[in-house]
Amino acid sequence: MNQKWVLVFSFVFILLAGCAQGAGEDENEEDSNDAETTLTFWNRLPELESHFQSFIEEFEEEHPDIAINMENLGASGNQQFQTAINNDELPDIFVRANVMPVRQLVEQNQLKNLNEIFTDEIRDNFRDGTWSENFTVLDDDVYQLPLYSGNSSVMMFYNKDVLDTVGMTEEQIPKTWEEMMEVGKNINEQSNGSIYGLTLGAEAGWLSDMFISQMGTSITPSMHTSIDVGKQINYQNGEVDFATDGTIETIEFINDLQDENVLDPQSVENDEPTALANFAAGRAAFFFGGNWTGANLVNEETGAGFENWGVAPMPTKNGDPYYSDSLTTEGLMVSEYTEHWEEVQTFLNYFIEYGYTEVVAASGAHETALATEVSEEEAPFEQYNDITNIMSEHSMQVPDIYKRNINTSGVIQDYHGSLSYSAGEILRGYLQGEIDDLEAELEEATEEGKKSFESALNKSDVVDRKDFIFDNWVPFEPYTEADYEELE
């Protein structure tokens, strides 16, 4: 019996010794790298992966004492962030954790204040609107190195090969829905049904949300287009509304395109990359995509490597103007628990100096937050400046509820979390024939949204519906500092 117990203890001892050996090896490894500090870096922006990689290599060459260990987060990125926040184990540097707003992260002591890096002089070099409350700053404190300018817009990409095939010129690119229908029908007929006018990645409901709300502003201008803040809240009356004329008419228009064989039937099942691949392969003449679409199209490794395309503003009902919200959301954050603050500062300063050109502009996916001009020669691809021009033309500052009352952040979090409808998903359901009465469905979504919003408002003692009403806002006119002052 005793012998058996000795055997058990020996076995446990060997196991523990094994663990101890492992720990010793780690220590040795650390000892051997005494001269080097390794910074951990999580990136969740696929469009910047390869550019971050080469930038980091360059940085490490110039700073041999600092190594950057970059991890690209996949589909489970949110879970990874949740676990890291729970355990105070966020990496030294990370692209904005999309799981909770800046205010909450700061309250939980997760974020490092970056004021040391962003002096007033440096801040002045950034584009207007970059310092957005609850995203890049909290009051006057910077918590995020902004990567992109707030300008972001959905636009219409066209395949020049397809236009050539059907004998269309770029002057015939549709500006109104009527023209879109006519051109689309023509393309489908001329190609004997093998080419469609338009293809969408409607499986990505958020992308549909973006173009529905953007096109909708030409009909219902008071509904802002943000999918990050105050979704479907009308800033002129502070009410939730899914069933606006803009949304209804836009969804009906897309449905008409489907009925007339203008819309590629695969659109309802395709995600964004698949739809884009179809577009590049000549399955359709047009594609509604975000400003990052160009970078994805030309990328030979992750995209189609397709270059013969052009870009135009979205067609609207009568060719009337439309707009999208300008809001800087993405950037680099630093963990409060970093043990290498000096090295992190070195990296961020290096990024401010070179990163905007070599990573953000080079990717071609977005406009840089730092006010840098990208000349035609420097442009990552031919159409880059066309995209930024369309973006600048259509993106504008709309009222910012966080700027007015930062406590609205909690209300928005509760409200967004309780929404079980989105215009993009309703579009998809309607196209698939799962929704018979579009208006009734949108009304139902409105009722649910109103209830959620009301309940979130009731929970808060420091937020009122008035915080969501901006009487002096004139849609299509940028909302300025003077407007906020006037409101007070």
Binding site: N78, N86, G205, D209, V268, Q413, L419, S420, Y421, Q432
Partner: protein, 322 residues
Amino acid sequence: MEKIAKKTRTIGKQKTTPLTKSRNRWAYVFLLPQAIVFLGLSLYPIIMSYVYSFFAWDGASPLNDFVGFANYVELFQTTRFWGSFLHTIYYVLGTTVIGVGASLILAIILNTQQFTGKAFYRTIYFLPVVTTTAIIGVIMNNIFGVNGLVNQTLQSINFIQQPIPWLGSSTLAMILLVVIGAWKSLGMNMIYWLSGLQSIPSEMYESAQLDGAGFWRTLVHITLPLLKPILAVILLLSIVNGMHAFDLVKTLTNGDPYNSTETLDLYVFNYAFGGGMGGGTSRMGYASAAGVMLGLFTLIISAIFGGFSFFTQKKNKTKKGE
């Protein structure tokens, strides 16, 4: 009576010899790792999911917003939750009826003496069981997509003009989900049936044959009644597995079209990590409440089924006068 009791106690005492004690200790030593794993990785999360369900919690903030039964109240008032419950029931019923029935037929065919190539067919039918469900979902998604293999083939032979929306129609998508789910579990159920079939003494078939019973009569009066205990096990496993359908649904339909194939497990996932269709922040507390309800539904359905099986068997025994 007292003598008997004494004797029993003596026997009991005799049983706890040093050898028995030693064996017991060893048993505990070997059970310990599994017990630790069970406590840490199964029991603790189950208990915590009950705790989380009473909080408005996003999965990362401190757990301090106690909301009582608010998550449950919201859950019961949400049409989408009841929709996903209904889809789960469709899936359970479909996969159980098709999977259990088809696997029985297969097992009977593969159990016949005259059948050649049994090992080959058993392997073929068992292959889906050992294939990762998520992979099956992805492959089937490609096969049944609008421009997938099935539609392309049907169009190339001019059988159809327009592609069939296999995954774009709620009815077709649910049928596909059920059929593929049943096909995936076919091999496992077949093995259970085979073990049941092979445990039936061959003498019974021989005597039936001598009495002039044919295939159908033997099947109805000997095989099926004797397979009842194994049927109860297969049904229970099939129901419990069906209630937890996630990976196939996530990869094949992802709950589409318009949530018409969203099952309870997928509903929990969508709210735990994505904030539902609104794409907002995670609602771990609400998702936990949905998870607790899923657990309770499974328990209730299993208990009803278990109770039904128990009373049926008891009734049969009483009839036989056992």
